[in-house]
């Protein structure tokens, strides 16, 4: 999952993306880049995120955590 997200982001931005990369680190990762990154991750990993999460998850670390949680089985509380 982590590798996959890094590679999706690297391909989309055409830059070397690492675990520490975050929004604003390069020109293409602005707010538009943020949305396109989520579009790509949702499409490639077959996930769906809430709008608030898309806006808030503005670093690779946050995105990875979000994605990993999204794939956990849902527990009814």
């Amino acid at each position: 999952m982590r590798e996959k997200i890094l590679s999706i982001a690297s391909e989309l931005f055409g830059e070397k993306v690492t675990i520490d990369t975050k929004i604003g680190d390069f020109e293409k990762w602005d707010s538009l880049g943020q949305i396109n990154l989520f579009m790509a991750i949702e499409s490639e990993l077959n996930l769906k995120f809430d709008l608030e999460d898309v806006i808030e998850s503005n670093s690779i670390k946050k995105i990875i955590l979000l994605s990993e949680f999204a794939t956990l089985p849902k527990i009814n509380t």
């Binding site: 989309l12 538009l32 949305i35 396109n36 579009m39 790509a40 499409s43 709008l51």
Partner: protein, 506 residues
Amino acid sequence: MKIELVSNINMDSIKFYLGDYQFLNSCDFGNYMIDLIDKSSKLYKSKAEIIFLFLDFDELNEDISDVINAVNVFIDDTGKTVIMNTLSFSPKYIDTFLNIKLEQELNANFNLVNYSKKNQNILLLDLSKLLKQNNFIDEKYWYMARIKFSKSGFESIARELRNLLNVYRYGSKKVLILDMDNTLWGGVIGEEEIKLSNDGAGKVYLDFQKKIKQLKDLGVLLVVCSKNNYNDGARGLKHINSILREDDFIIKKINWNDKASNIKEIAKELNLSYESMVFIDDSPMERAHVKEIIPNITIPEFPKDAYLINSWFLSVVEDCFSKISLTPEDLNKQEQYLAKRKRESVVKNTSYKDFLKTLDIRIEFKVNDREYIERYAQMTQKTNQFNLTTKRYSAVEMQNLVNSPSCDVIAINYKDKYANEGVTGLLIVDILDKHVEIDSFLLSCRILKRGVEGVVFKKLSELYFEKDIIGVYIETEKNDQVRKLYELHGFDKINKNKFIRKLGQL
């Protein structure tokens, strides 16, 4: 290359899918109509050569004829090229079955297509075709950021736009090079009944051939490049169900040479670059081999499942053979190229003699020279093709012939400016009272087709000035190429094996 992106929705994401183009946003969002007409706008000063004006029909407030008028003002003034899309509503309507939206679409697109036909600065990208795909639209990001399309939606638009830009910039490919077995038909011709029919498994190949034929009718040049016996391959094109016939192909390389060499010849004969060629072959090995040697040629993957060939081929056509306009020349191209090739082959024939002249050929004769007796014998043993009688002699026998007063052994030394080939031909002539008779005459393959034969016969006339010359020909399986040799050099036929050139006949 720079492109101005102008739209009534947020299309900026396209830049993520066309990384090699630089997209500019000189227009203020939602202000494109004014920017198109206002000559002091940033759009007019833009350095981009191309404007991509993407209109979302759902969001379009203006009448399309007003948009066209504005675009026309802009083009008239700047001479730039504008890419527009055909107009499509989102696939789900409120007024389903009333066809109100359908009518609007048809009218709008009718206007657009007509305008683009009249103005060559307008290129149209067919969005309606793309919108038919599933998951083209993404509602979440639409409501979040006015981004309408999904990742796969943007990828499709980007691909279509890239193809259009490629044709605009480089023109489309000109030549389609095709393999035969398991490409133009199923199976291997010459070994089995090929699959090519209107039903069953052969239908795939029949449909494929139909598409290829359509492409030819749009001006694409067809070539076959196939490892088969020529007759087998040609038989496939005469197959009762074959849509493609022999004369649909401008060049047929049906032989066992490696395909890269064949394609090099094709490029030379058509005088076209590898960039203008597409090579289709079902064999991954052949594809890899050609790609290795000729990296600039386009070689699409070939589907593993035969039933996918037709849809796969349509995407190849979109990528490689799209055209933004059709000229009458496109339709005549086949004939033009055929005529050109004919002219060139005439030129080739005349220049062959000139070529020989430039070789600076020197031929030397050695009569009854003992030095190379071994070599003479060896030549009689080995030479099969240019060998009039194919008599084999051992070194001892050759020694006797050289020593005998009743015959002459004449060695032929060849050299030209590139190489000294040494002893490469041999004549043995029996000397009789009134005539001489050719017992053996052979030339090595290395020096064929260089006019050496003529020099040899001239030499014979010189050596035996007072006598008639009788030429002997004994047919073998391999020496067919010299069957007419004597007649070509002024000999008269006596019978199947003997020819005579009378004293002073020349």
